[in-house]
Symmetry: D2
Subunit: 280 residues, 4 copies
């Protein structure tokens, strides 16, 4: 069968797209994101509303937008204590451009540093999904805690290596109460805290509080690290900027005296080579 060139080109275009996306449609002089033209979004939605819209695909109510704003603010900065901040500043000191410093900092958002928020959201969401919500919340929380105790593993979202009482957690719960954003996940988190406080004098941390709140707002646990990164990015950028404008280039972060070598004593390549080659 022979067909016209133009119509065939159209067939090719439509039938074989490389990319499919439901986020933004780009056409000449028009950018539509989640169904809204960007001219309409600029000035009409706050940045928190934009974050919500991008990740959840729909516009938040005013209360949800305020709540997400509080969550994002709570992740803002923890000084120079986190490895992400230290790595970003080291890379800045080594003379890399800002975007490379930030990328390097974010690479430290590994499972030990930033993983707790997603682990906590996943645990809450999976537990709530299979729980009888008519059941007493305290009993549910008891089962939740027992599961971890049996495995002997740490409960994500509780305890902090710098704070015996994470000052952000209680404040976040207060905001959730104020904005009516408390549902079964946050209630579970609060009941777990009650149990752990009595058992081990351990309190909820920022990850536990946000995991409950974000879950009650309907965020999939797979978006947890992303939301943490959004909240922390402005802090990382201010640290990279501070390093670049206030500190000397290529400074030594550790003294040689802080390094301890416990490897092999000195030997000669030729001696070892002779030994090894007799093996061949």
């Amino acid at each position: 069968m022979a067909i016209g060139r133009e119509s065939l080109e159209n067939v090719f275009k439509i039938s074989n797209p490389k990319w499919r996306t439901s986020i933004t449609k780009v056409e000449p002089n028009s950018i539509i994101t989640r169904g809204y033209s960007q001219e309409d979004l600029i000035g009409n939605v706050s940045f928190s509303e934009m974050v919500y819209l991008l990740i959840k695909g729909e516009m938040p109510s005013k209360k949800e937008s305020k709540m997400l704003g509080s969550v994002l603010v709570s992740f803002c900065d923890h000084g120079v204590t986190p490895p992400s901040t230290q790595a970003a500043r080291m890379i800045a000191s080594a003379g890399s451009p800002v975007h490379a410093c930030i990328a390097g900092g974010l690479l430290a958002f590994g499972k030990n540093h930033a993983g707790a928020i997603e682990r906590s959201m996943k645990a809450f969401q999976e537990f709530i999904q299979r729980s009888d919500l008519e059941e007493d919340i305290y009993n549910n929380a008891k089962n939740f805690v027992d599961g971890y105790l049996k495995k002997g593993s740490k409960i994500p979202g509780f305890g902090h290596r710098y704070h015996s009482e994470d000052p952000r957690a209680a404040r976040l719960i207060d905001m959730a109460k104020k904005h009516g954003c408390i549902g079964p996940h946050t209630r579970l988190a609060m009941a777990v805290q009650e149990i752990l406080l009595e058992m081990k004098d351990i309190k909820m941390n920022i990850d536990g509080a946000n995991a409950g709140i974000l879950s009650d707002m309907g965020f999939d646990w797979r978006t947890g690290t992303g939301i943490f990164m959004i909240g922390r990015l402005p802090g990382l950028i201010s640290h990279v900027y501070e390093e670049k404008v206030r500190e000397p280039d290529f400074r030594k972060f550790f003294d040689v005296e802080e390094i301890y070598y416990d490897g092999m004593e000195e030997r000669k390549v030729s001696y070892i080579h002779d030994l090894k080659r007799t093996m061949d």
Copy 2:
């Protein structure tokens, strides 16, 4: 001189700090950022205010905070057209964790992709600093444009590879007028646009508009890429999430037919080795 161990330890602590920061002070159960306790910040400032506070070190006025919110929203997403978004989704398809996908995406914020905002801010700031602001703005803009024409180089902040009229730019200028955030840098940008429109039918793009506005708000040009990254991060995260939940693992982004090899024809290692070794 002999001294007590404890007092000496204190001397060591104070006299030899490894890190100096003016951003956040972390003490047990207390986190103070830019002079505000984080409990006080959570719920009392919007996320845009937090961004402003972290980067500039001080709290914005209400109008400044709204203006920065509009700037951040304007950077939100450009679909799957930018190399940063494509790289992030490729890395997601390859099975890396979210933070690694985002880091990889940000690494594409190179001078050709995200560099225009800083180049534009730098150009505006340096030009305004050495300009006589009593002088007619149109004459100043003429000099600004002439400088680029003489060098034969592109003026950063004007023209766009997808849009003949970037829909975000005009809207941002409108918001700047509304919030009283227009100063000499934005006025320069507007006058430059007037000249370029007549000469070459080229309009201001999002970078030119934001470069003028951010400069008038007092942001150092070195923070431009950082602010772009803050605005774009939620979009990148939604793309990585979309890739992970909607697309097959390790999909082929290009067909083999789209690849063209124009290197050496086949030859034998042994033949070349024999030739080369006669040279030694």
Copy 3:
């Protein structure tokens, strides 16, 4: 107790090292790696021997060094088909410096792209560790394959998305035979191939061959991705260099026609806001 400042400083230095390493000892004008001075290593060991020494902590025999050389060469390049190479070139086109392009490329070494070598090494090593090596190898391989069939999961190290017969695998096995580097892991890989060929017409790929060989050479499976990265890095660098010197800046890797938007149709922020706010 009062003590002299100098002796106390020494106490501090020795008792509180921040870093412990067995790899390299750096002292003024002296660098000792794995027990050899670097002056002694330069010129006396090949780069493959150096790789072996760094990762295993000891010098290889001549045969082991040749074998590792073959393994590293086998990982060298796969054109522009892998997402790591595509991402690195995209980041180069966006104008980032070489080290950022390479970092971005390596970030695509996720579990779907580069993960098979470690999964394969882990599977072989764990299986061999708990196997009776006196047992017939074919029976062992049968059990190995059955384990995967029961779970319905793919056997790492077998099959390739571009090659029905990966040309590198057979050659690597030949080299292993030649250098006497075949042990129980490689024998297992070969027997698994025999079974899969008959059952499903699937052959061993580069990962399966190298997983067997590296395991027989005593490399911990946790070093597999690292060894792959060492072998692939020169290829990635030549691609980034090629992109930078031969292609235009910021080229479009995809046409707009290749993008398909299936998100929300256009609506107005104001309308949605009004709807939502009645919910608060």
Copy 4:
């Protein structure tokens, strides 16, 4: 005009390739790199020869391959002193996968840490290109040094922050003599050292030696950082592995006592907000 579908598809394939590469041609069951089949390369070339082939596009002579091997070995490791190594280990401690740790480490190869090799190669290559090589080398070196003294800037490739005499540099020059790899660039480096030694007691470092040697071998200065990365990658991998197997997860790299806050004293959001809003 109407044409057959098949022939049109062929037109599309040939006329619109997305990727062009001269490095590797991938076809089913065939991988040709720089004109050699990979089966032919595996076992017939050393890894150093492969590096040379990939980056320069042609096979080295035996002497060139030994020389490049020495260069790569010389970059192998510098303990835990470089920021790249520290960043990679921090990211490992934070629980990121190996490829993310390595990417983060490489991001610290910024202009202050790894930039000297390229700056030095560029300076040598540009100077030699415009020099009269019949002229006395010492006079040429004098002009080279004077250029830097006039600008008051550091000469890349000379001096080291840990070693007054970099033990690798002299050894590399010896190997270059042995392999007949000394040409005008290395001679320039040696003459510059002579001058600097007398003037400032400063010696050539590893970057200066390798810059001369690689330039004499015909490597474009833009490949310098890449070659450094190839040489250093095995060391980085052994550090990440050491961190993961020997050190506790998420260890604190700095004590809180090593951190000094010099930012704003505490104040109240509400007080500042009230002040600021009167400005609007």
